[in-house]
Symmetry: C2
Subunit: 415 residues, 2 copies
C-alpha cells in the first residue's frame, strides 16, 4: 500500500512554520506497515490544492491530509475533496451539535462561520475530534482512500491513533509492523561500543541495529518487522539480550530515558543523599538533577564555585592546591568533592572543574579538559576527560560524566 | 514567480528524519520575493522521483531540490534531472578534481563511486560546494529552472546564500523583498504588551507586527516588504521607534538575543560582579549566566540550597525565618540574597525560592509560586510571581525573573 501525506497551509509552504505532522504521520504509518512514498505541502490556494489532491489520488492508495478544516475562507479541504471525489457537500447535524457544545463549554456563542465545519462531501464518514471543533473526514475517492484531519497536532494525533489506525487495519490488509527498541549507554565512545558488538550494527542485518551518539550518550536502536507487534518484539529480544551481555554497566536505560533522569531515580530509589560542587558547569549538574520531581528527598544542594576565591572561601579548597596544581586539577576536584560532602552532610558529593573555553586553555591544560570528582564515605575518586573545543558541548558532557560516576557508584552499592 | 521545494530521501518520506531544509529554503525565498506554493518530499525511488520532478516542472517556474546528490546508488537526482530535461549526463573534470582534493585533505583515497558526483546533465551550470564533495546543479528544463543542492544543511545553506540567491536576482526579476526585525521584551504579559501598543498588532496592517510568547519572553516581529532590503528596513523604522517609546525598559534585545545573554553581556560591560543562591531552580540560573563566554570576569558562583538544612547551614538563613515564614517566602528570598552577597563578596546577589511542583503546594502557597530576591550595596528587593503548574516552565520563568531583576538594576546603575 502506497501512501502520500499532504500538509495544507500557507504558513507551512512559505516557511513561517515548520511542518512536523508529516514526519509524525509517516513514522506512525511505517509502524503499521504502510509505506509513505510522498509528502506534499501546499499553500491555501484553490487551484494548487486541487492539483495536489488530484495528483495524490492518481499515485497513492492512501492520502493522509492535515489542515484546511478550520472555519475560515482559507480552509479549503472540504471543498477540494468534494470536487476531487465528484460529489457535493452535505450538512451533518450531529457534527454541528458537537461544535455548538464546544462553544457552550467555553460560554461563548458559536460564530455563524463555524457551521461550515459540519459540511462533508457526500459519502464521507465523520471522524470525531474530542479536542476541537474540526471533525475529520474518511472518504474513498476513485481508487484512493482520503483521510483528512485537522492540522493542530494536539487534535490530529489522538484522532489518528484512536480512530484512523484501527479503521485502516480493519479496511486494508496492511504490511508488516515495525517495532523499535532503543538501548541507551554512557561511558564508552561510539566506535568502541560498535567494536564490542561485533557484526551487530552491520548494514542489511535483520533486525537492524543502528547506533547514534548525542553529547556522549550512545543509543542503540534495534528495529524489527513482524506480522504483529508481539512477533516483532520477539525478534528484537535475542539482540537486546546480546547487547546487555556485551555492554553491561554501560547501559543506563531504554527508549527516551535521559542519563540525569536515570541517576535521579536511582538516588531516590536507594535513598542516597547527594550534593554538588560545580565550577565550569556553573550549576548545570544541579539543574539536571532537579529536573526530576521528587528529587528533594535526596538532593541537598551545594556550591557553584566559579571563581578561585569562592573555591577557597566557600568550599575550603586549600589555596596551596590552587597555586601548585591549578583549579583544573585532580587535587582540586578531589578537595571540592570531599569538602562539599563534609559541609553538606550528604552521602555522596560530586564535583566538576574544567576549562569550557573558548579562552583559558594552555598547552598542558587545553580547552575541553575536565576533572570530575566523587566523594563517598570510603573514598574520593577523580576521573579526567578531554573533549573538543565547543563550550556548550564540554559543559554538557562534563555534567554527564559526573552523573555517570554517581550511577556506577550506586550500582556498586558503596555509598 | 512560483516556486516548488523538493526534498529527496527515504529517511524523510518514511518519517525517520524531520526535513528542515524545505522550511529554511521557503523562508529564504520569501525574503527575496519568491513565493513557494508547493513542497514535495519523495523516497529514493526512481519512478517516484521522475513523477515528482515532472510534476514540479509542469507547475512551477523555479524548482529547488535538496538531496540525492551523494555518491551511492540511492542518489538519483543527477539521473532524474537529465531524464526530465531530455539530455544525457556528461563528465565535468574540474568537479572531479575538487572531489579528489577533498579526499586528499583527509588523507584518504577517493572511492571510485565518488566519480559519479562529477557527472552533470548537459547544459548544467555547476554550483561549487565549499563544504563537501557534492556540487550543485543549475539547469533550465523546459520552462522551469531547476536548482539542485545537497541535503546536508551545512553544505546546502552557504551554496544557496552565496551562489543561488545572487544568480536568481541576476536571472529573474523577483518580487518585493521581505525583511523582519524582532524586538524582544521581558517583564509584562503578552496581552498587556499588546494593549500598550494599541493598533500596532492588528491583522492586515503594513508593516505587519506579530507578537509571540515563549516562557514569558515576548517577541515583537515587524515584517515589511520593499523593492530592496534597505527600503523594507526603512518601512520598519517608525514602528520600531514606536515600540521602543512605548515599551522602554521592557525591551532587552533584538533578533535572537536571549535574556541570559543580554544580562551576562551587561554585567561584563559594566564590570559588576554577581553571585547566585538558588533553591527550586537547582543551579539553572548559574548555568544560564555561565553560558556566555567571558562571564568568569564577573560571575563568582554561589549556593544551591535545595534543602532547608543547607539554607540554614551553608547560607545562614535564620532557622526562625524558615519556621515562621517557610522556605518559599519574601523573608527567605531576602535572607538568601543578602547572605549570598556578604559571603561571596559580590556587588550583586540574586536568589530564587519557589514551589516547582508537581507536589509541595498548599492553598496559601500553591505550586508555581516563586520569590526572587536581589541584594545590592544599598538594599534588598524581593518580587514574587505565580506561574502555572508545569515544573519545567516554572523553573525557567523563575530563572528569567531573577535575570530580569538584575537587568533592571543595571539599567539604573545602582549596584
Amino acid at each position: 500500500m502506497k501512501a502520500e501525506v499532504v500538509s495544507i497551509g500557507s504558513e507551512l509552504s512559505s516557511g513561517v512554520r515548520l511542518d512536523t505532522n508529516g514526519q509524525w504521520l509517516a513514522a506512525q504509518l511505517a509502524q503499521i506497515g504502510v509505506d509513505v512514498i510522498y509528502h506534499s505541502t501546499v499553500a491555501d490556494d484553490l487551484p494548487a490544492n486541487l492539483d495536489v489532491f488530484r495528483h495524490a489520488q492518481s499515485r497513492a492508495d492512501l492520502v493522509l491530509v492535515t489542515g484546511g478544516l478550520g472555519p475560515t475562507k482559507d480552509d479549503l479541504t472540504r471543498e477540494v475533496l468534494a470536487e476531487v471525489a465528484g460529489v457535493p457537500l452535505e450538512f451533518h447535524e450531529p457534527s454541528l451539535q458537537w461544535i455548538e457544545s464546544i462553544f457552550k463549554m467555553f460560554n461563548r456563542p458559536m460564530p455563524e462561520r463555524n457551521r461550515v465545519q459540519a459540511m462533508f462531501p457526500v459519502g464521507s464518514e465523520v471522524i470525531t475530534n474530542p479536542n476541537g471543533t474540526a471533525p475529520g473526514i474518511w472518504l474513498m475517492a476513485g481508487n484512493a482512500c482520503f483521510v483528512c484531519l485537522p492540522g493542530v497536532p494536539r487534535e490530529m494525533k489522538p484522532m489518528f491513533t484512536d480512530w484512523v489506525v484501527p479503521r485502516l487495519r480493519q479496511e486494508f490488509s496492511l504490511g508488516e509492523v515495525i517495532v523499535h527498541r532503543t538501548i541507551r549507554c554512557f561511558g564508552a565512545g561510539e566506535s568502541q561500543i560498535e567494536e564490542m558488538l561485533g557484526d551487530l550494527t552491520k548494514r542489511g542485518r535483520q533486525p537492524e541495529v543502528g547506533i547514534t551518539a548525542s553529547e556522549a550518550t550512545i543509543s542503540l536502536r534495534v528495529t524489527a518487522k513482524g506480522a504483529n507487534p508481539e512477533q516483532a518484539q520477539q525478534l528484537i529480544e535475542p539482540d537486546a539480550r546480546f547487547i546487555y551481555e556485551k555492554l553491561g554497566e554501560l547501559i543506563f536505560g531504554e527508549d527516551d530515558v535521559e542519563l540525569h533522569h536515570a541517576v535521579a531515580k536511582a538516588l531516590i530509589k536507594k535513598n542516597v543523599t547527594i550534593s554538588t560542587a560545580e565550577s565550569c558547569t556553573g550549576g548545570m549538574l544541579g539543574q539536571m538533577l532537579t529536573d526530576t520531581p521528587g528529587i528533594s528527598q535526596v538532593y541537598l544542594g551545594g556550591y557553584v564555585t566559579y571563581s578561585n576565591d569562592l573555591k577557597i572561601n566557600l568550599l575550603g579548597v586549600p589555596a596551596d592546591i590552587l597555586s601548585r596544581h591549578g583549579a583544573v586539577s585532580e587535587e582540586c576536584a578531589a578537595a571540592m568533592a570531599k569538602n562539599c560532602r563534609e559541609r553538606t552532610g550528604s552521602d555522596l558529593a560530586v564535583s566538576i572543574t574544567g576549562i569550557a573555553g573558548p579562552d583559558g586553555g594552555t598547552p598542558e591544560k587545553p580547552v575541553g579538559l575536565v576533572y570530575v570528582g566523587l566523594a563517598s564515605s570510603s573514598e574520593v575518586k577523580v576521573r579526567n576527560f578531554k573533549w573538543g573545543n565547543d563550550r556548550k558541548s564540554t559543559r554538557v558532557r562534563a555534567a554527564k560524566m559526573a552523573l555517570n560516576l554517581v550511577r556506577l557508584q550506586l550500582l556498586r552499592q558503596d555509598c
